[in-house]
């Protein structure tokens, strides 16, 4: 009987079984950032323990940094304290930090893959739920809490129980104007925001196999929004092509050995899954959220649903709460809904490919007056590429504020926040109540080209119509 990638990677990293029955799982790589690590280092100091494997740890700063002016000291003393604490912890423990002046700083889930640190067959963790992103290269990657960050600092292992594996296959060809973001939102809408509880999602099928690496990163990034703690894609030629030549990727002979090893982790053809879901690619439309959970989404041609359309009584209550918060009316078309703010960026859609996809459509067009439009590249490497390719200039000329890399308005731990009940067309990952910094702010999740169409028209719009995509 064949095995899944999940099983193979799990077995390869098992150090033993703990008295309570959990696996002691070796962690190949851990990423650190300023929000969820300071308490972990403090706990470690309290226990008087050293960092066991600093060479397997990589840190950057992303959540709290301003994206307009990064001159220090920051205006916000709490943000400055968090960055300085990270610097101190990394320096004291000999941990690599991609700091603001490194040319490699950025959102932790952008930096890892871009530098080739994230590799197939690894176990990867970070104190951040979107760690699922790294599964795109064929690793088991998952978000953990701060106490678990401490466990990895001290022992390079975690106490864990394995997940079940659901094979989510998207078969066929995506229609023009439909992106990885739409695929992810569609899957979450279909299986529910809680549908992946207890599962890892193995994404496959022809539509996913033909996605480029940035698209795969977007898809796996959103696995957690469907409650799957990790999502992954089997490593293939696209993966190897992406990794080759990156700073931390193996070189020379070691490269050939690595590729051979990586291939061996891919799920066997006769692997047995705990569940299989098949979704036809053709049914996926450019997708927009209307509510306060990522599964509350519809195709751009759709209308805001009524509570009666929810699956059950709990769903009806949730829909009622969402409609009230979003100030939307059942039956109202989502298309044409005015927006106040547009945000293109985040670990979900802050990749070079995302900006490349949008730039040609912005050329010669202008952001609708009155709309605040932010473009925030996910990393310094991406920002540099965007400058070199003329993409940044196109965004600026169109009327976007072209910002410095960081998490920015995805969770608004920096000064980029919604005000009052503003509506934001956002390429980020969560439309939770208050997520974008205002307790009454409203988020509509969508793809980068859909967000660009919203910026141009000032409303939710079908990018295929606005930009004549067919």
């Amino acid at each position: 009987m064949g095995k899944t990638l999940y099983q193979k990677v799990w077995e390869a990293h098992t150090a033993g079984t703990l008295p309570d029955g959990r696996t002691q799982l070796f962690i190949a790589t851990m990423y650190l950032h300023e929000v969820t690590s300071p308490q972990a280092f403090a706990m470690l100091r309290e226990l008087g323990l050293p960092v066991l494997h600093p060479e397997r740890l990589f840190a950057t700063v992303d959540h709290i940094i301003p994206t307009d002016d990064q001159c220090e000291p920051f205006a916000d003393p709490r943000a400055a304290a968090m960055l300085n604490e990270l610097r101190r912890n990394c320096a004291e423990n000999n941990i690599r930090l991609f700091d603001l002046n490194s040319g490699r700083q950025g959102i932790v889930h952008m930096v890892g893959p871009e530098l080739g640190i994230t590799q197939p067959g690894m176990t990867i963790v970070c104190g951040d739920s979107h760690t699922a992103t790294h599964g795109a290269v064929g690793s088991i990657a998952m978000g953990i809490g701060t106490t678990q960050v401490r466990d990895v600092l001290a022992t390079q292992t975690l106490a864990m129980s394995p997940l079940k594996v659901r094979n989510v296959r998207v078969e066929g060809t995506l229609r023009p104007g439909v992106t990885a973001k739409d695929v992810a939102l569609h899957i979450i809408g279909k299986l529910g925001a809680n549908g992946g509880l207890g599962y890892a999602y193995e994404f496959g099928g022809s539509a996913i196999e033909s996605m480029d690496m940035d698209g795969r990163l977007t898809l796996c990034n959103l696995a957690i929004e469907g409650a799957a703690r990790c999502g992954y894609i089997n490593p293939d030629e696209t993966t190897f092509e992406y990794l080759k030549g990156r700073p931390y990727a193996p070189k020379g002979e070691a490269w050939d050995t690595a590729v051979k090893r990586w291939k061996s982790f891919a799920s066997d053809a006769d692997a047995v899954y705990d569940d299989v879901v098949i979704i036809p690619a053709e049914e996926i439309e450019p997708t927009v959220t209307w509510g306060i959970s990522p599964d509350m989404n519809i195709g751009v041609g759709g209308t805001v649903p009524a509570p009666e359309q929810a699956r059950d009584e709990e769903g009806r209550k949730a829909y009622t709460t969402a409609l009230e918060y979003m100030k939307l009316t059942p039956g109202q078309p989502i298309k044409g809904l005015p927006v106040d703010v547009v945000f293109i960026g985040s670990c979900t859609n802050g990749h070079i490919t995302d900006f490349r996809a949008v730039a040609p459509y912005l050329k010669g067009r202008k952001v609708k007056p009155g709309i605040k439009a932010l473009a925030v590249p996910g990393s310094q490497m991406t920002a540099l590429q965007c400058e070199q390719e003329g993409i940044a200039q196109i965004f600026r000329e169109a009327g976007f504020e072209w910002r410095l890399p960081g998490c920015s308005m995805c969770l608004a731990m920096n000064p980029d926040k919604l005000v009052g009940d503003q509506i934001c067309a956002s390429t980020s990952n969560r439309n939770f109540k208050g997520r974008q910094g205002s307790p009454t702010g409203r988020t509509l999740l969508m793809s980068p080209i859909m967000a660009a169409a919203a910026a141009i028209t000032g409303t939710v719009a079908d990018a295929r119509e606005v930009f004549d995509i067919r």
């Binding site: 150090a15 033993g16 304290a81 104190g127 760690t131």
Partner: protein, 201 residues
């Protein structure tokens, strides 16, 4: 490092109803600007409880009859979203000692177990019944018992569930895993030697 054996939690309960109670709602991101967990007491569910001007929205947590509650009764997919451990830390530091909900998001569950805050599941019907009892009679004394796996009060008893491993860890006072994880240095060293680490060389 001797830890408390967590077997039974008793006290008043407070309902926090609704599906998909995400960790942004449990603790908004602005409260994460800290380098310790010390200031988190009282911040749980902040924007659910208070308006922008600081006035109360009338959330059950702030109702005098639920004051001092040690048990939260929640809904489906409790603790979904961000992995922030600040969420269970804020809950625990606000005096809550157990959460009973229909289901829990994976990461939240692990974070809570790891700090000795048991999260146990009950059926939707039983939770609705328990919320009704506690809303009608807020002084009701509940017990979450990990031995018998029940949520009970003088007039009712409901079955609860939890995966075997964390239950075992809580009951044996071994919920902080770091002690156990330090017991096998040879096995860890062997894996560290054989599994490649990312390098620029």
């Amino acid at each position: 490092m001797p830890l408390t054996k967590i077997i039974s939690i008793s006290g008043k309960a407070v309902p926090v109803a609704g599906a998909d109670m995400d960790t942004d709602r449990i603790i908004p991101a602005r409260f994460l600007k800290c380098i310790t967990f010390d200031e988190l007491a009282g911040t749980m569910f902040y924007d659910e409880r208070f308006n922008a001007d600081g006035t109360s929205k009338g959330h059950p947590i702030d109702a005098p009859q639920h004051a001092g509650a040690t048990i939260i009764l929640g809904g489906e997919n409790f603790g979904c979203g961000s992995s922030r451990e600040h969420a269970p830390q804020a809950i625990k530091r606000s005096g809550i000692q157990a959460i009973v909900a229909e289901t829990f998001a994976e990461i939240f569950f692990g974070n809570s177990s790891g700090i000795g805050l048991p999260c146990v599941r009950a059926s939707r019907e039983d939770l609705a019944r328990a919320m009704e009892i506690t809303t009608t009679a807020p002084d009701t004394q509940w017990t979450v018992d990990l031995e018998s796996m029940t949520l009970s009060c003088a007039t009712a008893s409901f079955p609860i569930s939890m995966p075997a491993e964390p239950r075992e860890a809580l009951m044996q006072g071994k919920w902080d895993a770091v002690v156990e994880l330090m017991n096998a240095p040879e096995a860890v060293a062997a894996l560290a030697a054989s599994l490649p680490a990312p390098s620029t060389k």
